[in-house]
């Protein structure tokens, strides 16, 4: 039953190259959410997928020594609080969710006030939440694994 950790050497090699590229693409999707299609939700799922890619290729024992579940739970809570804090910031100018920051020039990266910050907050929340779901499903001793061991 006990095989070598993770997948073969080829997969591990390629994963080391592609994970950073997937992560970079996710960050691009998040930060350009107010200019092009995408945004915090899609980019958050892409970044969660890049971490999941790592876990699948290297095996959960090796990967989860570095990536702690409690750390991701904390990140998720931080993302939610950041989103709420941005919304509360609007109260300083009048009402909840007011776009208080300077709008800037349209069609440039640093424009549209709180939307960029909100995208970052949602990205933190979605990516950390989905990845902690995946970790919880991965490290649970699945009954199917036990059944396989018993049948042996």
């Amino acid at each position: 039953m006990k095989q070598q950790q993770g997948m073969s050497l080829i997969v591990k090699r390629i994963t080391k190259i592609t994970v950073s590229l997937i992560f970079l693409f996710g960050m691009y999707i998040v930060l350009h959410g107010h200019l092009t299609p995408g945004g915090g939700f899609a980019g958050g799922v892409i970044i969660a997928l890049s971490f999941i890619h790592l876990v699948l290729a290297f095996g959960k024992e090796i990967a989860l020594q570095r990536l702690r579940e409690s750390f991701f739970s904390a990140i998720e809570s931080f993302g939610g609080l950041m989103f709420l804090g941005i919304a509360l910031l609007g109260l300083s100018g009048g009402y909840f969710f007011l776009n208080v920051l300077p709008k800037g020039v349209p069609f440039t990266l640093f424009s549209s006030g709180i939307i960029v910050l909100c995208n970052i907050a949602i990205f933190l929340k979605v990516s950390a939440g989905l990845f902690s779901i995946f970790i919880a499903l991965a490290i649970i001793r699945m009954p199917m694994d036990d059944a396989k061991e018993q049948s042996r």
């Binding site: 999941i52 709420l84 919304a87 969710f97 776009n99 929340k125 779901i133 649970i140």
Partner: protein, 172 residues
């Protein structure tokens, strides 16, 4: 929109395959085919934001479902479904379909949306938010409350998964 009809027909076939096939892994993969068909339909309906999100969400949900079903052996004996139950389900679905056809007749025709609220957002997005992506402007600026509520639901679901799965780790 003949291509959309073909795509929806393929999605219905994929859904029926996912429903009727014996093997759970094949069933999950057929569900993935339906989801990717939905991605293409979003692209044809001019919704690129949704297409990107649906694509990546479909990959992740396939990973989660496969994690739950791989290695599961279904018992060989047939699951006897009672005939009365089957007839009840068919009648219920037929009633649902007939009523929804009546309801759909009241909607505006396809390709002819009224856009009573949407036109306001389209007109004001550039001045009020300076964002080029109008969908992004709506979910994060005009309708921020919705997104806040969504974030709460997501948080609750994540906490629920962690709480349901945590118990056995202490027992083990």
């Amino acid at each position: 929109m003949i291509e959309l009809h073909v795509l929806l027909g393929l999605m219905i076939i994929g859904a029926i395959v996912a429903m009727e096939i014996e093997d759970l892994l094949s069933s999950v993969i057929a569900l993935g085919a339906v989801g990717f068909g939905l991605t293409l339909a979003f692209l044809l309906l001019r919704a690129p934001d949704l297409a990107i999100t649906q694509l990546v969400v479909e990959i992740l949900s396939l990973i989660i479902l496969i994690r739950a079903t791989v290695g599961v052996k279904l018992p060989r004996e047939k699951i006897r479904s009672r005939i009365g139950y089957f007839i009840f389900a068919v009648i219920f679905v037929a009633l649902f379909l007939s009523f929804s056809v009546k309801a759909i007749a009241q909607l505006p025709l396809f390709g002819d949306s009224l856009m009573r609220i949407g036109s306001q957002y389209v007109a004001e997005a550039k001045i009020k938010t300076a964002a080029a992506n109008i969908v992004s402007a709506i979910i994060l600026d005009f309708r921020g409350y919705d997104t806040l509520g969504e974030a709460t639901v997501l948080f609750t679901a994540v906490i629920g998964v962690l709480a349901v799965l945590r118990k056995s780790r202490k027992q083990a």
